[in-house]
């Protein structure tokens, strides 16, 4: 084993130091003989799962981790629960990836860019991870994506909803399965108009950072195009825990819809506060007052409890989605973990399989080959239905779900109901859309680390 390692790394043996060798200086850890960063040479290949394990998003990270572990089991042929069968690409054989058994290492992003990059680096530099998957915020996704680009490994983003991830910060080595703020807005606007009418006046509360702004911008643009008016947009500090002072003036502002451009704990609290103020029981401008939460997640729904009843929002995926891929995945996940998968879990699961499949189809782990195989890849299955990985910006295009908090949930898992599945055509946009960095945005060159 040890000797093997010396030779396979192509090290020059020197006479002076018997059994020791010095490799040539190279960028990152790829040595001269390796074709790309962390080229797997043994019988195994290592994936890096980078999710928040501490901090407020730890539960979501844990969900992602469970899904990724499930994906590894499915890849290694320890039973796939029928999931692989629903996947239109048949390249995966249940014997790992390219015949190599899949191993994984985990890192803790702490939902902080710095910590996430440190964790990713550790997995790349120390554990030899060939790709990084997961994450639970856009800041982290953009930061880790940039790192993976420099390091020459593939980055498969987890939950990241900001336009920037595949917009102005898009990278050749980075891929996003999750949908984005623009798509949320495009999917929501027609439903909002249908449910609430075309002459609504909207009041926006927006988390005061990049994601919040892009989300607000997208929603305002899409709803204004339907005839809505934006009465006010108030920026709330990310560190806020109580939103009462922002909610209090809403009713008296002439608005009849409140849009909460918040995520995670911010959203749970702002929605709870809004319900406390009884907004949903009020009538404004002669219409029933409504609340919209553009981006939903199962954990946020759980945190907000009964308050989500009747509140509209959008999701990338929901376990209640009725297609074969989804059913197989929910069954497999549910039997193993005793609960249905969340939409970020599904994204992380799909990303692992998509990566593995691309490797198989490309016949290599070389990130440039893998990227090429993923670009323009069309598939069905894995939960979302027909999906395209667009070559221009590495964004997945698929149907978007508009969901609503259920009035009478029967158990802890069906608190959200699917209102409409917005077809992918409606949420399509040009790769050089101004909200996505315009014509200047570029993927750059693929980096394999060689």
């Amino acid at each position: 084993m040890s000797k093997n390692q010396v030779t396979r790394r192509g090290v020059l043996k020197t006479g002076a130091v018997a059994g020791a060798g010095v490799a040539l200086p190279t960028i990152f850890t790829a040595s001269s003989a390796a074709a790309y960063t962390n080229e797997p040479t043994g019988g195994t290949v290592t994936l890096g799962f980078n999710v928040p394990q501490t901090g407020p998003y730890a539960d979501e990270g844990n969900d992602e981790l469970l899904a990724q572990q499930l994906a590894v089991e499915h890849l290694n042929g320890m039973g796939d629960g029928g999931c692989l069968n629903t996947f239109t690409s048949k390249a995966l054989k249940g014997n790992g990836i390219l015949g190599k058994k899949v191993q994984f290492v985990t890192g803790d992003t702490q939902t902080k860019s710095d910590a996430a990059r440190a964790a990713a680096k550790s997995m790349i530099e120390k554990d030899g991870a060939i790709m990084i998957n997961g994450g639970s915020s856009s800041g982290v996704a953009v930061a880790v994506q940039g790192l993976c680009q420099d390091a020459g490994v593939i980055f498969m983003a987890g939950l990241t909803h900001s336009n920037d991830t595949t917009g102005k910060d898009r990278k050749k080595n980075g891929f996003r399965h999750f949908f984005n703020a623009y798509m949320s807005a495009a999917a929501l606007a027609p439903v909002l108009s249908k449910e609430m009418g075309a002459d609504r006046r909207a009041y926006h509360l927006t988390a005061d950072y990049t994601w919040g702004w892009t989300q607000q911008e997208s929603i305002a643009a899409a709803t204004e195009a339907m005839g809505w008016e934006t009465v006010n947009n108030v920026l709330t500090p990310l560190a806020s825990t109580d939103f009462s002072s922002y909610i209090a003036p809403v009713l008296n502002s002439g608005a009849d819809v409140l849009v909460l451009n918040h995520y995670g704990g911010n959203m749970v609290n702002s929605l709870t506060n809004a319900i406390q103020f009884g907004l949903l029981d009020k009538v404004a401008n002669g219409k029933d007052f409504k609340i919209v939460v553009p981006l939903y997640s199962e954990l946020m729904a759980a945190g907000a409890g009964e308050n989500i009843k009747g509140v509209l929002g959008s999701m990338n995926y929901n376990w209640q989605l009725d297609n074969e891929g989804s059913k197989a995945f929910v069954k497999s996940f549910g039997e193993k973990y005793g609960k249905p998968p969340s939409n970020s879990a599904q994204t992380c699961y799909a990303q692992v399989l998509l990566y593995a499949d691309a490797c198989e189809r490309a016949g290599t782990f070389n990130p440039c080959g893998v990227a090429e195989a993923l670009e323009g890849f069309e598939f069905d299955g894995l939960g979302n239905g027909k999906t395209l990985y667009r070559a221009d910006d590495h964004q997945c295009f698929k149907d978007v779900l508009v969901v609503r908090g259920a009035q009478n949930p029967t158990n802890a898992y069906d608190t959200l109901e699917i209102v409409e599945v917005t077809p992918v055509e409606q949420v399509m946009y040009a790769p050089d859309h101004p909200m996505f960095g315009g014509a200047e945005a570029s993927l750059g060159e693929c980096n394999s680390g060689a």
Partner: protein, 343 residues
């Protein structure tokens, strides 16, 4: 006008939480001379008392309902809380509905015990250590406590709703002769405000009118002299620590319906409550309460559209800005005593 009344109301309501936490912090600091960074954690533990009571009341047995399916297509297991089985569905549901007020009863002995254990087990050994050491050890304790809570309750917030009778909001504006919907305020927030006024009043009355309180106040002013009088001031201070913990805990229980408790809520409040205490003046009870309400109101006004458009980002920094200005102009805070915490 109505907008101003609304923000004042909101500020007082926000401030009541700050004031309650700061009151406990100041009690501990004033009596024991200890800077307790774990005070936010006590607030958090209080909130999780409510969560626990809710969980206990919802303890259920499962029956299989063949007519319904769960998400995997298996027959649905329906949970029936024991209380509903014991007291009948209606009374049982009502008991569960009132779990937050019930948790108050439950939280008092728990918080007193936690406070007692903390003081005897840890804080006691730090009376003679430098303030920096006290800050550090209680900071460590705060981390440990919140991680323990996270281990058992997870990182996600947990709803502890108010009783349905107290849900919804009141149109105060209508009562004052404004247009409808001008001043709407949630009932539970008014309850919280009233509650904190009662608690604050209770603590002050206790210190003002009981012999126990008089000794403690004397001890706060001059510990050695009271000790010389042969009064066992340490024991009383232990009890004061328990009371301070109790105040923080009750504040936490009642806070649950406002914003669902999560494991890091203590840390979120910690920095803020220290700013409140320092602005009020270390060791001054009226100062802490006044500063709590003052900062609540200022924060409320800073978050109005008018304020944020005049000075962008003012809502992000208002608290710190006020702290800096006050500390530079009034070295010991609003009502601080000389020589306290200046070594």
């Amino acid at each position: 006008m109505d907008a101003i009344i609304l923000q004042i109301l909101n500020g007082l309501d926000k401030g009541s939480a700050y004031a309650l936490i700061a009151l406990g912090l100041t009690l501990i600091f004033g009596t024991l001379g200890v800077v307790n960074f774990a005070h936010g954690a006590l607030f958090m533990i209080g909130a999780f008392c409510a969560v626990t009571v809710q969980r206990l009341l919802n303890l259920s047995f499962q029956t299989v309902d063949e007519t319904q399916k769960d998400f995997l297509g298996n027959p649905l297991k329906v949970d029936t809380p024991y209380v509903e089985a014991w007291f009948g569905p209606e009374i049982g549901a009502a008991i569960i509905d009132w779990s937050v007020p019930l948790a108050l009863v439950f939280a008092i002995p728990i918080m007193l015990a936690v406070g007692y254990a903390m003081e005897r087990g840890l804080i006691k050994h730090f009376y003679k250590r430098p303030h920096a050491d006290q800050i550090l050890v209680t900071f460590g304790l705060a981390i440990v406590l919140q991680e323990i809570i996270k281990y058992f309750f997870g990182a996600n917030p947990i709803q502890t709703p108010e009783p349905s009778a107290l849900k919804g909001s009141l149109d105060i504006g209508l009562m004052l002769g404004f247009d409808p919907n001008a001043i709407i305020y949630p009932i539970w927030r008014l309850v919280y405000f009233t509650f904190s006024v009662v608690i604050i009043g209770g603590v002050f009355a206790f210190l003002q009118f009981t012999t126990f309180g008089m000794v403690v106040r004397a001890g706060m002013a001059d510990r050695e002299t009271v000790g010389l009088l042969g009064i066992n001031i340490d024991k009383r201070f232990t009890i004061m620590f328990g009371i301070a913990a109790g105040v923080a805990g009750l504040a936490g229980v009642m806070y649950g319906p406002l914003n669902p408790p999560n494991y890091h809520m203590g840390m979120d409040f910690l920095v803020l409550s220290f700013v409140v205490v320092v602005v009020g003046g270390m060791g001054s009870l009226p100062g802490a309460v006044a500063a709590g309400f003052l900062l609540g109101v200022l924060e409320s006004f800073a978050s109005t559209t008018w304020a944020t458009t005049t000075i962008p980002g003012i809502n992000q920094i208002i608290i710190y800005l006020v702290a800096i200005i006050i500390l530079l102009t009034r070295p010991r805070g609003l009502m601080g005593r000389k020589g306290v915490m200046e070594d």
